[in-house]
């Protein structure tokens, strides 16, 4: 029986994989770009899931790490004349180091203290990016070169870039999956359920939280580097508190702690305003409404609630 449940999930996951792999052939132009941009948020949702989903700590500075990754990569290209790939790798590593260092004081805090501490860090980062004009160029940083190519593969336009993002999404899903079914993942979930109890049973809570926080920061930085390479112009809005809120709302609406929720929450909240053709200003209102509705009526998020209240359907959810 357990074998069969497993295979249904695999079947659905496989169909979804085929669908998303064929997206550049099925959609062209605007729809492809919209879906591709959605994948950036899927990357952010999956990386935030490590700290907010598994470890249960609400982090409101994920956009800051995304911005740091984008700016680190962009500045290395613009200021030192590096090509994209070395700058991308270096930028991701820098973001990882920053999130590790920032994580050291934060992992000692719990609950609202953690949330407000990360909120303040996010505010500091966006203020520095906005005010340090001589380094960051103030309201926007231009002149970032695109990845060009890796061997024979060329990343030009969304069609090819989509596959780069798609590969990154698969990597992030793999990391989420591996982590969830490992000693580290079980420790994180124990921390989420009851931090004091986990501590009492000998789990080194600070170390595991720090690990989750810094890996999440590193992966957000990686997504930021990809974004810089695709857009070739970046602005401080990436690191703003509003952006961090957007990412958090997407993950919570999807369902924290679930991989399917971390993918479909961001996709849903990104694509819905996009296809409704509403103005950019309405986006945050829609996110706010969704967040309130989900908190009031589906506290586990859409994917989490489906799994929880409809066991028959849950067999089909990967």
């Amino acid at each position: 029986m357990a074998k069969k449940v497993f295979s249904k999930k695999v079947l659905v996951a496989f169909i979804l994989f085929i669908f998303f792999a064929l997206v550049p052939f099925l959609f062209k132009g605007y729809y492809l770009t919209a879906l591709g941009m959605g994948l950036f948020y899927v990357l952010l949702g999956l990386s935030l899931n490590l700290v907010t989903g598994f470890a249960g700590s609400i982090s409101i500075c994920h956009g800051a790490f995304y911005g740091i990754g984008a700016y680190a990569c962009g500045l290395l290209i613009v200021k030192t004349g590096m090509t994209f790939w070395p700058a991308f790798v270096l930028g991701t590593v820098i973001t990882g180091i920053i999130s590790f260092l920032v994580g050291i004081p934060f992992v000692r805090t719990k609950g609202p203290y953690f949330a407000i501490g990360t909120l303040c860090f996010g505010a500091i980062v966006s203020l520095i990016i906005l005010n340090w004009v001589s380094l960051t160029g103030g309201i926007s940083l231009r002149g970032i070169t695109s990845p060009g190519g890796l061997g024979i593969v060329k990343f030009k336009g969304m069609t090819n870039y989509y596959y780069l993002l798609f590969a990154a999404v698969l990597l992030y899903i793999y990391i989420n999956h591996k982590l969830r079914n490992s000693r580290v993942g079980r420790a994180l979930i124990a921390i989420r359920e009851d931090e004091e109890l986990a501590e009492c049973t000998g789990v080194n809570t600070r170390w595991y939280k720090l690990l989750a926080f810094s890996v999440a920061g590193l992966l957000a930085g990686l997504a930021g580097g990809l974004y810089a390479g695709y857009m070739r112009a970046i602005d401080p809005g990436l690191a703003s508190i509003g952006h961090s809120f957007t990412i958090l709302a997407m993950l919570i609406v999807g369902g924290t702690g679930t991989i399917s929720g971390a993918i479909f929450g961001p996709l849903l909240l990104w694509l819905l305003p996009e296809f409704l053709m509403v103005a950019e200003d309405f986006r945050l209102i829609i996110y706010g409404v969704f967040l309130l509705l989900v908190i009031l009526f589906m506290p586990r998020g859409i994917a989490g609630q489906l799994k929880y209240s409809l066991p028959n359907i849950s067999k089909w959810i990967p």
Binding site: G56, I58, I60, P105, F106, R108, T109, K110, G111, P112, Y113, A115, I116, G117, L119, C120, F121, A123, I124, L127, I128, N131, D194, I241, G242, F245, L248, A249, I252, D281, F282, L284, I285, Y287, G288, V289, L291, L292, I295, L296, P299
Partner: protein
């Protein structure tokens, strides 16, 4: 020396508005364990109420009262519609709901009331006052007096009145308070109404000194949280003292170090305090899940 005194007086004026907002945050956190971000939206809306009623010819001081009443009602509605249903849910739900409510109201105001910066034109802003070497305007003095008076008044209200004692009992131990016959729902309503009054007063008082716009609530409410964390979550005297300390730090930092980064000082202080004491400066209160 004169400049220092001037900076200190500016810091106290700023601090009195932080103290009001921080007191409101600490009150709700004590009663419901919710860090209520949405108070930042009430702060902003109260400034708008002042602006619009001033346009219609109502006296500034009366517009403050109107804003206070509307925001108290809004705060109670919030409690009823959003925070009451999730009260028994997980700890994080209240915070996320408050954040969602804040973003919703902020952006609704942005769309509904326009993106342009509004100016509350009251004659108090131009009314100069000189107290010894310190130059103030009447509006600044009003902010300082009303802010200090209201926050200390609210503190003594909680200390002495019957409902105040009930509110404090609920923040100390919810179950025990319910057991001895305190109506917890009524206490919640009153606490939310008081917090709405204080947040609205803070916004309407700051309004003429700042430009009124939809995003004006973000920085003050974030700083109120910094104050509340510094003062220990739920500690009311801590919130008042912390508000004034933060106002002074910011004013002196902007005057002597850098005004572009003045917002960073507050957040930097918080990060440093959390490094040393993960539960805030005076926070001994254990978090309840």
């Amino acid at each position: 020396m004169e400049e220092l005194l001037q900076q200190i007086s500016n810091g106290l004026v700023l601090g009195s508005t932080y103290a009001l907002l921080a007191f409101a945050v600490a009150l709700i956190f004590g009663v419901m364990y919710v860090p209520n971000f949405a108070l930042g939206a009430l702060y902003m809306l109260a400034a708008y109420v002042s602006f619009y009623f001033m346009e219609w010819g109502v006296h500034y001081l009366i517009t403050i009262l109107i804003g206070v009443v509307i925001m108290a009602i809004l705060a109670v509605i919030m409690e009823k519609l959003v925070f009451r249903p999730i009260e028994s849910g997980p700890h994080a739900a209240g915070f996320i709901a408050a954040l969602g409510l804040f973003v919703l109201l902020e952006n609704a105001a942005f769309l509904g009331l326009g993106a342009e910066y509004r100016i509350i034109r009251t004659s108090y802003v131009q009314m100069p006052l000189e107290i010894g070497p310190i130059k103030l305007t009447f509006q600044r003095l009003l902010v300082l007096m009303a802010g200090t008076g209201l926050s200390i008044g609210a503190y003594f209200f909680l200390l002495k009145s019957k409902i105040g004692k009930e509110i404090r009992a609920v923040s100390q131990n919810r179950e025990a308070a319910a057991l001895i016959g305190i109506d917890i729902h009524w206490v919640n309503y009153v606490a939310f109404a008081i917090s709405g009054i204080l947040a609205a007063a803070s916004g309407a008082l700051v309004g003429p000194l700042a430009l009124v716009n939809a995003s004006m609530g973000m920085m003050p409410i974030t700083k109120a949280f910094v104050v509340v964390v510094l003062g220990g979550m739920g500690s009311l005297p801590g919130a008042i003292a912390g508000g004034f300390i933060l106002g002074l730090v910011e004013s002196l930092g902007a005057g002597y170090l850098s005004s572009a980064y003045k917002d960073c000082f507050a957040f930097g202080v918080l990060v440093i305090v959390l490094m040393i004491r993960p539960t805030g400066l005076f926070g001994a209160k254990e978090l309840r899940e």
